[in-house]
Amino acid sequence: MTLSFAEIVGMDVAKQALLLLAVNPALGGVAIAAPVGSGKSTLARAFAALLPAGTPFVELPVGATEDSVLGGLDLEATLAAGRRVIARGLLARAHGGVLYADGLNLLDERAIAHLIGALSDGVVRVERDGLSEVHPARFLLVGTYDPVEGEVRRGLLDRIGLIVPLLPQTGERERAEVVRRNLAHPPNGDAEDETTMLRAMIADAREHLPTVHIAEEQMQALVQTALSLGVEGNRADVFAVQAALAKAALDGREAVDDDDLKLAVRLVLLPRATRVPAQEAPERRERETTPHAQGDQPGDPNAPAHAQATLEELLLEAAVVDLPAGLLDLPFAGKRRGPGGSRGAALSSRRGRFVRAVAGDPRGQRIALLPTLIAAAPWQKVRRAERNVGACLDVRREDIRVKRFRDKAGTLYIFVVDASGSMAINRMREAKGAVVRLLQDAYVHRDQVGLIAFRGQQAQVLLEPSQSVERAKRALDVLPTGGGTPLASALLAAWRMAQQARARGIAQVTLVLMTDGRGNVPLRAAPAAPPSRAEIQAELQQIATCIRAEGIQAVVIDTQVNYLSQGEAARLAAWLGGRYVYLPNAKAAQIAMTVAPR
């Protein structure tokens, strides 16, 4: 059962993005954030149906192996034919058509890398299995992902021109309409007419696209907006211009207008924003934008400078209006709070999946039988001639392939640092040093580090698990200190981070807690009476026991000066079943050494 593009209710932004992509393949693709069951795949199929008959539609499954993505030797056919026969991979098969990836954020790291390669070069380079091939692979990428399951890798998102942030919850009436349309299927004549009409529109717009004009000032406004939104790299500028051109072409106009620019900002720049532009006083903005809204053409030679500033402000304003609801879903925004993905989420969530077979020593590893036989197969003729043995299979050591599971995950170190009280600045600096040091030594082990700070009313995730020193440093650069000690909230945040890491296959988690252990802010919203110490302690014990039950290692670094200590930190360590280390003036190197496995 398939609905046509026109029949799909809601998802207007996504539909618009797809139309732009159909008009202008230079946009590369559309990434759509949508929850399960929102009809993403129906939309993708309906989109493909809009394209000329015979356009390839290839699905890139989440668990696709490297072989199937890239292509390689078709052994069976090769043996049968006596010459090499090449099987094209999914990327090459999508050439000239649509590649649909449901679960962009769940794709294997290497599959993502190949996808990125194809998007930027338009070809797939195969250098494997004794093959050296270049396959054309220009396609329109339609990718969807459920943000709850984590982010899409940024490098990939960067090459996808249009990004549709989380679709708003559909209203009651629309929901009813969705059901009605689904029930009413097969389609009525109207829908078919609409499909035909859309096809014609796309074809027209494609023809028309090369002649659409964009003014210098409009281009400048887009670039300036990209800068104001802190968009990284220069690729987005090009995408934004292409999107505006496509929109104008789709509407059958000769030149880009303000609405086109706004749409470009919304679908290209805004989703890539890393910061919210400073809001200006509303009166001022209103005053400046009014003359422009009245039809002052940006290209007007009489007031070019003014018009420019106005146009850019208009775009920014439109962006800011769009922002509040979606701010937390900005995939490019640095810090993210609460549950959600992280860099590591790009790895497959299927833990321990057999990814590929590599040549190797079978001792201590699992032999991949089939790949081993495949590796041995081509040489049988040669070997038989050499050894003059019978018809038995001659498998040699160099044929042996061992199984590689998902790249061996290292340990996740979660630093939980007390940023309250007077010693906080010192603690933070040393914690930061320890974090960076661990990361620098971590390369071989593929360790990751996350960081949670707590002060005031609750804990804050400063750094989602990451391997990048650069990101860690950036996250740690600014942190306010002082205030209450919401220790319980911090432990809970750490527990959550550990849970998410486990879901991604990082089994080994070590918690490094730097505190004096004196929590004084409870987890639950403050009741009328301030909570007693005992209540807070009970809460801490409860969470600590949970963490211990999960098998999470813990190290408590007591930063309290000796004569003030009442053993809170030691007690906490006992609850966590972890190690207790007394380091009132802990130095980065000491911490790193204490924490690292011995």
Binding site: R84, V223, G233, W379, R383, E386, K432, L439
Partner: protein
């Protein structure tokens, strides 16, 4: 007849034709990113500089620049059809063509794609010959193709560790050795290693960083005028690549000429003692281990002088190459917030100051 949605002459009737080579964006049309461009050019002029690692954020044109490099390189001479691009071969070499005719080819710039298997990188037994004729014949890999040229690895941080080790070994020795199915092949594999990576994708092993002669950092351009120029040129190129290339051909040709002249000159560039001394002092001050730092500094300074048509390296040359030559060789201090490049510059100023004082006294 409906038009295909993405047009490509290579894809017809579902049959697989080799794709028409997509023209590269011209090197001389790349806006900004001077450090990266200079590092690449210096390596062209003197391959002994030891390659370059380019670190930078997404969408800053790293791959574009490396691929563009191929088009400004002068041609080299090799024995026609030699799989290792050799100019001279020994008599009776079974892997060499039977004749001794020469041909001129562009300097190879070989892409090492992610997911490349070791057999394709190093070379292996020709599978087709083994299957059909039952004979063992060596089939050269990417390392052979890259001999006397450039080997480019995009996203070095995502490359398999074992493959990185193989590459580094070969890059250091200049020879590739393959043992397979009882065949043993040893062939020259001298190439300039160019890597690129994104610092957000994770750290590189220090041992790996150290092997690259130069380390260029690139950042997002924040100048509006420059960014507009990027968009304009990109659009023009995408709309009509051939016309764009034609428009830039004069600049490309000029750069090519300059490179050829510099290559001829570089061996004769004089390195005055005070410049060399300054290089050594700089490395000492920064606590750079070993002598690779000084060597790279000196070579890069000479290459720069040659590129600018001078016969003598100066302190100013040193100053201009110091950051990319040394920034990846500093001891890492986790608490250091100053950028490594910044630290090199500071040390440079100190050293040059001392130099000036000693000269005036």
């Amino acid at each position: 007849m409906p038009k295909p949605i993405v047009t490509s002459p290579a894809h017809q009737n579902g049959k697989l034709a080799p794709p028409a080579p997509m023209p590269n964006y011209p090197f001389t049309a790349i806006v900004g990113q001077e450090e990266m461009k200079l590092c690449l050019l210096l390596n062209v002029i003197d391959p002994r500089i030891g390659g370059v690692m380019i670190m930078g954020h997404r969408g800053t044109g790293k791959s574009t620049a490396v691929r563009a490099l191929a088009d400004v390189l002068p041609k080299i001479s090799r024995i026609a059809g030699d799989p290792f691009n050799r100019e001279v071969v020994e008599e009776g070499d079974p892997l060499a063509p039977p004749h001794r005719k020469h041909e001129r080819i562009p300097v190879p710039v070989v892409d090492l794609p992610l997911g490349a298997t070791e057999d394709r990188v190093c070379g292996t037994i020709d599978i087709e010959a083994a299957l059909t004729q039952g004979v063992k014949r060596f089939e050269p890999g990417l390392l052979a193709r890259a001999n006397r040229g450039f080997l480019y690895i995009d996203e070095v941080n995502l490359l398999d560790d074992h493959l990185v080790d193989v590459l580094l070994d070969v890059a250091a020795s200049g020879w590739n050795v393959v043992e397979r199915e009882g065949i043993s092949v040893r062939h020259p594999a001298r190439f300039v290693l160019v890597g690129s990576g994104n610092p957000e994708e994770g750290e590189l092993r220090p041992q790996l960083l150290d092997r690259f002669g130069l380390h260029a950092r690139i950042t997002t351009i924040t100048d509006v005028a420059q960014r507009m120029e990027i968009v304009r040129r990109r659009r023009a190129f995408d709309a009509d690549p051939l016309a764009f290339l034609a428009a830039w051909e004069p600049q490309q040709r000029a750069l090519r000429r300059r490179i050829v002249a510099a290559q001829k000159r570089v061996a004769h560039v004089e390195m005055p003692d005070d410049v060399l001394m300054c290089a050594a002092r700089l490395c000492m001050q920064l606590g750079v281990d070993g002598h690779r730092g000084e060597l790279t500094l000196a070579r890069a300074a000479c290459a720069l002088a040659a590129f600018e048509g001078r016969g003598r390296a100066t302190l100013d040359d040193l100053r201009r190459v110091a950051v990319p030559a040394l920034r990846h060789r500093l001891r890492r201090d986790p608490l250091e917030t100053t950028d490594a490049g910044e630290r090199v510059l500071q040390a440079m100023e100190k050293t040059l100051g001392a130099e000036a004082r000693s000269r005036s006294s």
